[in-house]
């Protein structure tokens, strides 16, 4: 029986940010003139009236325990003005109205083990999903992949060595909650789901599972005398879309669930229109606890980009200039038949011209 509650929720919705905003920001709301980048991890914004605010940005472990959260608050009270915000890549930002507070704040953050950086043309924090820690369908862990990778990219987080900013994302299944990125490290399944036919009829709403399949490879069937589902394995693209609505169709596999790497996703409208990321590498082992093979590919791509791209070119801009053949040549990644799209609208991705770089 349901428990009794006499308290109706207060449907207050999204709170007003103004009540938590630094007074200098509140005072100059909508009235900012320009910004400067005094050093990596620090922004200086100047308002039309002459007020200035300094922001210090730091990377954290993202999955914060209350001890760490309080440590971040202590630093905010002692070295800043008690006002913070978070970027959508889960970096914390402290705002101070006085330039003399910037260096002590940076020292306090670094002494406490946080990493100041992630602004301008750096590799900022990897945006990631829940993974084995909390998701119901993950093929890998998210926090672990990111921790292992940021250990190696920390120098790029703290400095401005890249031609333009680099946004990396990870996702633990092919739904890709991590979203588009200059580089995306995503799970890629390579075998059809293994079906526990004893459970399907009890657990799954079969018509909606059939409807969920992007390639119509699932059909109802009677297996061992019970209503179940079967998969046409020749049609199956191993995407795992059937697994969330039907957990007995297990898609994750310790051996056959791999990682793939995609590049060139860019949300901004700057220069060109926003772009989707493209597959460049697959079949990378899903290798906890530190996923060294995936990190090696990411580092190789970053190194090549750093050496070959021009100022202000994001990874997609760079590849548009040099072309895909040179990208594969420079990164030494293999080009395979799997790189050629065969999804809806795929012909638009083919080269219908004689434009070829020799």
């Amino acid at each position: 029986m349901a428990k009794q509650h006499d308290r109706d929720p207060i449907e207050s919705g999204c709170p007003d940010g103004l009540q938590y905003m630094h007074p200098v920001m509140r005072r100059n709301y909508g009235n900012w003139a320009y910004h400067e980048d005094p050093r990596p991890g620090v922004l200086k914004h100047v308002a039309h009236g002459g007020d200035a605010i300094w922001t210090v940005r730091a990377g954290t472990q993202r999955i914060l325990d209350v001890f760490t959260l309080r440590k971040l608050c202590d630093i905010g009270d002692r070295y800043a003005d008690g006002y913070v915000r978070f970027t959508i890549r889960s970096n914390i930002e402290y705002m101070v109205g006085d330039e003399s507070k910037v260096m002590p704040l940076i020292s306090a953050l670094e002494d406490a083990g946080f990493v100041v950086g992630g602004t301008k043309n750096s590799v900022t924090m990897i945006s990631h999903t829940q993974g084995w820690l909390h998701c119901d369908i993950p093929g890998t862990d998210a926090s672990g992949v990111v921790k292992a990778m940021m250990d190696e990219l920390i120098g790029e987080f703290k400095n401005w060595n890249m031609p333009n900013r680099v946004h990396i994302t990870t996702s633990c299944c092919q739904i890709n909650c991590g979203g588009q990125g200059d580089i995306a490290i995503n799970v890629q399944h390579t075998k059809p789901p293994k079906i526990n036919h004893d459970l399907v009829s009890n657990v799954c709403e079969r018509p909606s599972v059939v409807a969920r399949c992007p390639v119509a490879a699932i059909r109802p069937a009677i297996v061992n005398g019970k209503p179940s589902l079967e998969v046409d394995e020749k049609k199956c693209i191993c995407c795992g879309a059937c697994y969330p609505p039907c957990p007995p169709m297990q898609i994750n596999d310790p051996e056959h669930t791999k990682l793939a790497i995609w590049v060139g996703g860019n949300h901004s409208n700057a220069r060109g229109k926003p772009t989707f990321q493209k597959l460049v590498a697959a079949g990378i082992p899903n290798n906890p606890p530190r996923w060294p093979e995936a990190t090696a590919v990411v580092k190789k791509i970053l190194q090549t980009y750093k050496e070959d791209a021009k100022d202000w070119e994001r990874i997609n801009d760079w590849i548009e200039r040099i072309g895909w053949p040179r990208f594969f040549e420079l990164t030494e990644l293999p080009f395979t038949k799997y790189h050629i799209d065969n999804w809806l609208g795929a012909r638009r991705s083919l080269n219908a011209s004689t434009h070829i770089r020799f």
Binding site: D136, K147, Q180, P214, A270
Partner: protein, 420 residues
């Protein structure tokens, strides 16, 4: 208190290296937290996570958990290996809506931390990919208690499931010179108009609003939201020629030509002999690149507003879709402007709720029925800003061409009258 801790040889590897370690954080809860409930949950959570690392499999299952009065906002998680790790066998996440723009005082964070260690695991993320504060790990019973606590002092749950989801807006007017709209107001006006649709899932699938103050689109709204509101301007961009000259003097002519002039996507820029910048504003597409390079010299104009794009989403089911323009420009200043924005959002959600298939995002519905049917459904006129190119296939019926052409001229006239 001494108790046995699960061995975690694989997770221990993630305590090495210079980046802050989430494993060390969970261990702090296990080893140092005074409340035995919190430390016990952390211990069993580490045990299950180690088991995942060893077997390369996840062991959480969904279910149905909500708080009284709502059908949304909780991500239920029950462990499949709960008998081995009983303290964390119920480990639900509460999605809580952050303030628009993600601002906090340290006091507000401390207050949340206190409630969370009283009822939950003590693990929290600012923020999840949709934009919620993720309070990760509460038992079914404590989910209600935690919500009651924080709801009393001003926090409310976000969306989960087929409903309007928590929104996101950029720092915008609060700190950024490129802002063209009041992002927080747009965010809160829209989200808080749909509170019922956030808390009670009854739509075909998820529906997300994201607000960016300029076309840099720091909220990733074109690709990651069903309804993107992006600030822009209609008049000429502002040029401080003195600052342009200083920039040229500092960086050199070649740098400016290579990195500003040559990177303009519509070739709308030219560097004059006297090191001033000439802008062909009629052909500027507001891409933001030159403003990003020279923020002191270049700024958005004064006639500000927003472009609305509809239908962005990721892979499931038909493949990735970007949002596409449905309103090239809308002013967002007066209460009437905001009413119009809400009206467009309401018409969109109503039409999609009526016509979308189960588990079909708004963009997928538009892909299925065509943009024109959708526009007619929500009462918007076609506009050449909505397309990259006109159709290339001749397989189309054009019976009512003259009526449609007359309609175009009529709208053109009324638009001209409105702006005159």
């Amino acid at each position: 208190m001494t108790k046995q801790t699960h061995p975690t040889p694989m997770l221990d590897e993630l305590e090495k290296g210079p980046w802050p370690s989430f494993i060390s954080g969970i261990k702090r809860l296990r080893d140092q937290h005074p409340d035995g409930r919190v430390s016990g949950v952390a211990n069993d959570l580490l045990g299950q996570l180690e088991h995942s690392y060893e077997t390369r499999k996840g062991y959480w299952k969904g279910g149905t958990v909500s708080v009284f009065g709502y059908g949304s906002g909780i991500i239920p998680r029950f462990s499949e290996v709960g008998s081995a790790f009983p303290a964390s066998k119920e480990f639900h996440t509460l999605r809580v809506q952050p303030p628009a723009g993600n601002y906090y005082t340290t006091d507000s964070l401390r207050q949340l931390a206190e409630s969370w260690e009283k009822w939950g695991s003590g693990l929290v993320t600012f923020h999840g990919q949709t934009g919620n504060i993720m309070f990760i790990g509460a038992s079914t019973e404590n989910t209600q208690h935690f919500f009651d606590d924080i709801n009393e002092y001003g926090w409310d749950l976000g969306g989960a499931g087929p409903c309007v989801r928590t929104g996101q807006s950029c720092v915008g007017s609060a700190r950024c010179e490129q802002s063209n709209i009041d992002e927080m107001r747009v965010h809160r006006t829209l989200l808080n108009n749909f509170t019922d649709d956030v808390h009670r899932p009854s739509l075909p699938y998820k529906f997300k609003f994201k607000v960016s103050g300029c076309p840099n689109d720091c909220m990733n709204s074109i690709e990651r939201s069903d309804f993107a509101i992006i600030g822009t301007w209609r008049d000429d961009m502002k040029v401080e020629q003195k600052e342009v000259k200083e920039y040229v003097a500092k960086k050199g002519r070649q740098y400016i030509v290579d990195n500003v002039i040559a990177r303009c996507p519509t070739k709308a820029l030219s560097l004059a002999e006297d090191d001033t910048l000439e802008v062909d504003n009629r052909n500027c597409v507001r891409c933001m690149h030159c403003l990003n390079v020279m923020p002191k010299a270049l700024s958005p104009g004064d006639d500000k507003g927003a472009t609305l794009l509809l239908g962005g989403k990721r892979t499931l089911k038909i493949g990735d879709l970007m949002g596409t323009v449905i309103v090239p420009f809308i002013k967002l200043e007066t209460p009437e402007d905001y009413e119009r924005l809400v009206e467009i959002a309401e018409n969109t959600i109503d039409f999609w709720a009526e016509n979308g298939l189960e588990h079909e995002r708004c963009g997928e519905m538009i892909e299925r029925i065509g943009l024109v049917n959708f526009l007619e459904g929500i009462g918007l006129d076609v506009d050449p800003n909505m397309i990259t190119d006109p159709r290339t296939s001749s397989y189309v019926r054009t019976d009512d061409w003259e009526d449609e052409a007359a309609r175009w001229f009529e709208h053109k006239q009324s638009r001209q009258a409105a702006t005159a």
